[in-house]
Each structure stands twice: as structure tokens, then as C-alpha cells.
């Protein structure tokens, strides 16, 4: 692998100068990719709206968002299939917004793989290398490297329709990687695979990215996939990047109600700030009475707020028995009746109808095989949560 990475190329890949230039750029702390107020409209619909983003070299970045949020449009602008209406795309400090796709040091793996059906596996992989005008021996060596890297031995002469879904995915990846792009774009790379294969392939993609030290940008609507693979995730909604953060930050400190609801399950309780003291806020809510939460990191615009609590941070105890731990002042303690139970193996999800009539979701890890503490439907329970586990957000 090392030999392959360091073998210098004439065209298509990187020249010595380009590599040195990018090394100095990286040393100077200039991000590999900078998006500067990027705008793309289709007619009157703004798909991407003044988007700003920096991506460092060697990063595994995921663009996450619901369908129609503009993430694919953004990816297509990076590949060169769409021209931005305004703004700049800086790759190694150079604006490539007007460069046609075939002249960009960027490659893309398509959602449906877009393998050429009339070419064999090795011709598919060699396609981009031939266009780059590499010498025949170099092409053969690189194809062999890719075949070994993606475990495609014994399939070189097959046509794409003689391959399984997982094999096609690997050929598509090999074809895009063969040109050694500065940036690899992956459009929903795992969407067409079944669940089991998807998990293996996620690990495989992470291994490849670390091994090659390449920069990956992956577009996905599957948050679990994004969290599993990416170093950082950019959450998009309606053409805007609403939050860019590591998976943990995204889940534990969402910066808006929308992000909290989009990433993972969450209980949202609306209320009004009643008092603030010593790093805590007390919020009066119609659904859950008085809720005490750790003071929010960001400034709130009004005192009309909501409290977000992840289901696994809600703890349940049978009514009457004293809950273990908790706050001495008995804050954030609600009573209700279990109305729904979903057993999911590793965890059990409960729906609790609070006395106020609101529904609260709680998720309990099944740490023992015979769970004697499991609750039944119609059982009265106490639900409680720590103030530090509450995130206070603008409504």
C-alpha cells in the first residue's frame, strides 16, 4: 500500500509540486476544502443557501440531512456537475467553482454506482487512468493495487451485471480511488446494500480512509451511518448547514430543536423560564410541571424554551419504591403509567403516559438476561432525569 501511495504519477494523480504545495498548505493550517458563501438555485428554489464550510485534509466528513435538504446538490457542486450561482469552492486555496468535472482532482462514487455495463471490472477501474494518459504499465500496476485493496481478485474479467451488490459497490469505490483524488465524494454509498453488508462496508470504508489518508465526504440520510463513520458531521436543512460537530457533540449538545429532533430520539417538553440561579434554570412546563436543567451554553432569545431529554437519560422506577440516586430535592420527578413497551434486544423502550396526559419516552438498557425490574403495561412508574442531561433550547 505504501509503495502505491508514494509512487509518483505524471498526470491525473498528483505531481511532486502539487503534493508539496498541499503539504505546505496543510502545515500552514489551510483547510483542504473551503466553501465560501456557496449558493445554488433551481428556478425560484434555493437548494444551497450561502453555505460556509471548511474541511481539513484527511478528514472523514458526513453531510447528513433529510431528502431535499440540498446535500446532494452540494456534493454535485463539488464534483462539478452543478455550477454554483454565487460563492467560491476553494480546493488547496484555489477556486475550482468554474472548473469542469473532468479537470478536477476530485472523484465521486455514485449512489447507483454508475458502473459501465459494457466494460469488465478491470476496464471499469482503468477507465479514469486511461483518460489521464498514464503509461500502460502504470495503469496495470494501479488496477492490480486496487483489485488487491478492495479484494476483487478473480473478478477482473467479469461484467458488472455478473457481480453482487456488494461487489459492485467495491468496484465503484476502486474506480473512484484509482485516480487518487484529493477528495473522494460518496453519494449515499451504502444505501443499496442490505443491513448486514452495510455494517461490514462501513467498517471497510473507515479502514480505507485511514489507510489511504484520503479526505472523504459522504452524503447520507442515515444518521447512524454518519455517526458511525464520520469524524465530523454537517447537518443540513433547507439549504443551510444547521450544525457542524463531532457525532458526540451533535447528539449530546444539539444547537437547535430541529437538530435535537432530527438526530436520534428525543423527548421535547415546552415551557417558560421561571428562574435562573447557580448554573441552573427552572422551567415551568404544562406537561411535566417544574423542570430543572443545567443552564444552556448558548444565549436564549426569549424565555419561551423547550427542554430536550434523550430517552435513555430518562430513568424509570416502580411507583412507591425509592428511586436509587437522584436528587435529594426530588426534582425532575414525574409519575405516570406505562402504556407501551417495545423490546428491542439490547434495550427496551417504554412509553409513559404522564399524569399531565403527555407521553414520555424512556429507553432502558437490558444489562441482565433475566430482567426482574422490567415494567408491565398499566404499571405506575416514576420517571426521573438528571438536570445535567437536559438540553435547553429555543422553541
Amino acid at each position: 500500500m505504501d509503495a502505491m501511495l508514494h509512487r509518483e504519477t505524471t498526470r491525473g494523480g498528483m505531481s511532486d509540486d502539487a503534493r508539496q504545495a498541499s503539504d505546505t498548505a496543510a502545515a500552514a493550517g489551510i483547510p483542504l476544502l473551503q466553501l465560501d458563501a456557496l449558493v445554488k438555485c433551481f428556478g425560484r428554489f434555493t437548494a444551497v443557501d450561502r453555505l460556509v464550510l471548511d474541511i481539513k485534509a484527511g478528514e472523514f466528513f458526513a453531510l447528513l440531512g433529510p431528502s431535499g435538504c440540498g446535500k446532494t446538490t452540494l456534493l454535485r457542486m463539488l464534483a462539478g456537475f452543478e455550477t454554483p450561482d454565487a460563492g467560491r469552492i476553494l480546493l488547496d486555496g484555489q477556486d475550482i467553482a468554474g472548473v469542469p468535472p473532468h479537470q478536477r482532482p476530485v472523484n465521486m462514487m455514485f449512489q447507483n454506482y454508475a458502473l459501465f455495463p459494457h466494460l469488465s471490472v478491470q476496464d471499469n477501474i482503468a477507465f479514469g487512468l486511461k483518460r489521464a494518459g498514464l503509461p500502460r504499465a502504470e495503469i496495470e500496476a494501479r488496477v492490480a493495487d486496487m483489485v488487491a485493496l478492495l479484494k476483487l481478485e478473480d473478478m477482473e474479467t467479469r461484467k458488472p451485471d455478473q457481480l453482487s451488490g456488494g461487489q459492485r459497490q467495491r468496484v465503484a469505490l476502486a474506480r473512484a480511488l484509482a485516480r487518487r483524488p484529493r477528495l473522494l465524494l460518496l453519494d449515499e454509498p451504502l444505501a443499496a446494500l442490505d443491513k448486514k453488508l452495510r455494517e461490514n462496508t462501513q467498517a471497510e470504508l473507515m479502514r480505507l480512509q485511514r489507510q489511504l489518508g484520503m479526505t472523504f465526504i459522504v452524503v447520507t440520510h442515515d444518521q447512524e451511518e454518519a455517526m458511525m463513520m464520520a469524524d465530523r458531521i454537517g447537518v443540513m436543512n433547507a439549504g443551510h448547514l444547521v450544525q457542524v460537530a463531532t457525532p458526540r457533540q451533535l447528539y449530546e449538545t444539539p444547537n437547535s430543536r430541529w437538530v435535537a429532533e432530527f438526530v436520534g430520539g428525543v423527548n421535547i417538553i415546552d415551557g417558560r423560564v421561571e428562574s435562573r440561579d447557580a448554573g441552573r434554570v427552572t422551567i415551568a412546563t404544562p406537561d411535566a410541571g417544574r423542570v430543572t436543567a443545567a443552564a444552556p451554553l448558548q444565549a436564549l432569545t426569549t424565555d419561551q424554551v423547550c427542554v430536550a431529554i434523550r430517552p435513555e437519560k430518562v430513568r424509570l422506577s416502580a411507583h412507591g419504591s425509592a428511586p436509587d440516586g437522584g436528587d435529594a430535592a426530588e426534582i425532575n420527578r414525574l409519575t405516570g403509567v406505562v402504556v407501551g413497551i417495545s423490546y428491542l434486544g439490547g434495550q427496551t423502550r417504554y412509553q409513559v403516559r404522564l399524569d399531565s396526559g403527555a407521553l414520555l419516552r424512556a429507553s432502558v438498557a437490558n444489562t441482565a438476561r433475566l430482567d426482574l425490574d422490567a415494567f408491565d403495561t398499566t404499571q405506575r412508574v416514576v420517571a426521573w432525569f438528571d438536570p445535567g442531561d437536559c438540553v435547553v433550547l429555543d422553541r
Binding site: 491525473g12 464534483a79 462539478g80 456537475f81 469542469p100 468535472p101 473532468h102 476530485v106 472523484n107 465521486m108 455514485f110 449512489q111 447507483n112 454508475a114 458502473l115 459501465f116 455495463p117 459494457h118 477507465f127 479514469g128 483518460r131 489521464a132 461484467k159 458488472p160 451485471d161 474506480r175 473512484a176 485516480r179
Partner: protein, 267 residues
């Protein structure tokens, strides 16, 4: 498969008989030894021998083949380009109008096409002959090619071309390296369709042809007006035979391409 009922078998037999009995009669009578078309005089290849000694008929056949080959090739190139422009081009102003205009000759009465072309050739003072018939047949068959190619292009995944460009092809090379090989079966089917249409055409050819460039259908038609000779049966049998071969070849080509994982060329 479901068993055919007695009624269905009868209906099928009647339908096939309606279509093919005249043709079968024609083929059988081409081997007739008698000079009279309607009287059976025993088996013979006499009229085939006579046909191959009929210089006028042979030169008409050669003319038809040349016109068909040249016009089918021109129509295939133009029709393919039109199909590419209409399916792949950015949506330009008047695109709907363009595709409508492309399809119009399909339903245009041939008499009108022939007459308007004749008026055009007279107006520009073109000498009527091989080239005027070829141009006329190109205009007639181009839209058929465009329709066949367009339906294939429409079902072709756009991202294949994008992948080619992503991997370093400019748009022209992406077309030549990826799109063209994938639509080739349809392009070939379009060529064969254009060839047959041109071979078959009587109306437009008779409007646009000149002295010394008689095509086979015109020749046959003028002979028949003087009375049907068994020789006509012989040449018709040869035409039927060659068309059958072309159709078998076309279906083999599309079957071959469908075995490559591509959907067969719709025809």
C-alpha cells in the same frame, strides 16, 4: 402456459391466414412454369433466370439498394444526433416544439412530404435523380431513427455519462466511450428500419426521382400496370426473403445486447 381454447386457436389461424395466405400464394406462383400468372404449370426456376437477365430490373434494384444504404446511414447519423440533443441537452427554448416537429413526419401523409420535396427541388433547380431521392428518404426515415434511439437514451442512466466525465472524459469523449457503445443496438436497429423503409417507399420516390434513376418499387409498379408477369412474383419473393433475413438479424442483435445486461432495443 395456459392452454389455448378452441376459439382462440381458430381466431389465431384465421388472423394468420389473412396476413400470410396472399404472400404464400405469391411465393408459390413465383416458381410457376406457366407464362400465365393465374394458371399453374408445374415447378420451375424459369422466372428467376429471366429476372437475372432483365437489366432494367437489376439496375432498379441496384439503385434502390444504393439509395437505401446512403439514406439510412445519413438518417442514422442525423436521427441519433437529434435524439441526443433532445434527451441530453439542457432544456432550451422551444424544446417541446422541436421534439414535436421531429415526430410530425411520422404521421405526415407521404403524398404531402413527396409533393413538398418535389416543389423544393424544383424551386432550387436541383437535377432530380439519385441524390434527390436519397435526401427525400433521409428526411422520411430520420424521425424513425430518432424515435428508436431516443427511447433507449431515455432509459439510459444519466449518471453513467457523469461518471465518465468525473473520470476525466470531456463531454464528447464521454459520449463516444460510454453512451454510444450502450445505445449502439438501438442505433443499428434504427439503421435497419431506415433501410427497409427506404427500400419499400414508392410514393416519395416517385415524386422526387428523375429519368435514369428508377427505384425497384417504381419499376415493379410500372411493370404491373402493363400486366403482372411471373417475374414480378420472383423479385417479390426475393425481397420477402431478404427482409426476413434483416428482421432475424435485427432481433439477434437486440437479443445479443440484452444478454449483455442491456434492455433490448425497443422497436
Amino acid at each position: 402456459m395456459k392452454q389455448l381454447s378452441r376459439f382462440n386457436i381458430t381466431a389465431l389461424a384465421l388472423g394468420l391466414a389473412f396476413l400470410y395466405v396472399p404472400i404464400v400464394v405469391l411465393v408459390i406462383y413465383s416458381f410457376n412454369a406457366s407464362r400465365l400468372v393465374t394458371v399453374w404449370g408445374g415447378w420451375s426456376l424459369r422466372w428467376y433466370v429471366e429476372l437475372f437477365n432483365d437489366a432494367a430490373m437489376l439496375s432498379a434494384a441496384a439503385m434502390s439498394l444504393r439509395v437505401a444504404a446512403v439514406s439510412a446511414t445519413a438518417a442514422t447519423i442525423l436521427g441519433t444526433l437529434a435524439a441526443v440533443a433532445l434527451t441530453r441537452g439542457e432544456s432550451f427554448r422551444g424544446r417541446t416544439l422541436f421534439s414535436g416537429m421531429l415526430y410530425a413526419p411520422l404521421v405526415m401523409p407521404e403524398v404531402i412530404t413527396g409533393l413538398s420535396l418535389l416543389l423544393l427541388f424544383v424551386a432550387v433547380n436541383a437535377e432530380r435523380g439519385f441524390w434527390t431521392v436519397t435526401i427525400a428518404h433521409t428526411t422520411l426515415t430520420m424521425c424513425f431513427v430518432a424515435v428508436v434511439v431516443q427511447s433507449r437514451l431515455g432509459s439510459l442512466d444519466r449518471s453513467l455519462e457523469e461518471a465518465a466525465m468525473d473520470l476525466g472524459c470531456d463531454p464528447l469523449r464521454a459520449f463516444l466511450k460510454v453512451t454510444l457503445p450502450l445505445i449502439l443496438p438501438s442505433v443499428m436497429a434504427g439503421w435497419m428500419l431506415a433501410f427497409t423503409l427506404s427500400m419499400d417507399d414508392l410514393v416519395i420516390a416517385s415524386f422526387t426521382t428523375g429519368p435514369g434513376s428508377t427505384t425497384l418499387p417504381i419499376r415493379i409498379y410500372s411493370e404491373v400496370r402493363l400486366g403482372v408477369k411471373p417475374e414480378i412474383n420472383a423479385i417479390c419473393t426475393l425481397i420477402i426473403g431478404s427482409i426476413t433475413l434483416v428482421i432475424i438479424a435485427a432481433s439477434l442483435v437486440s437479443k445479443l445486447s440484452s444478454r449483455q445486461g442491456e434492455s433490448a432495443a425497443p422497436l
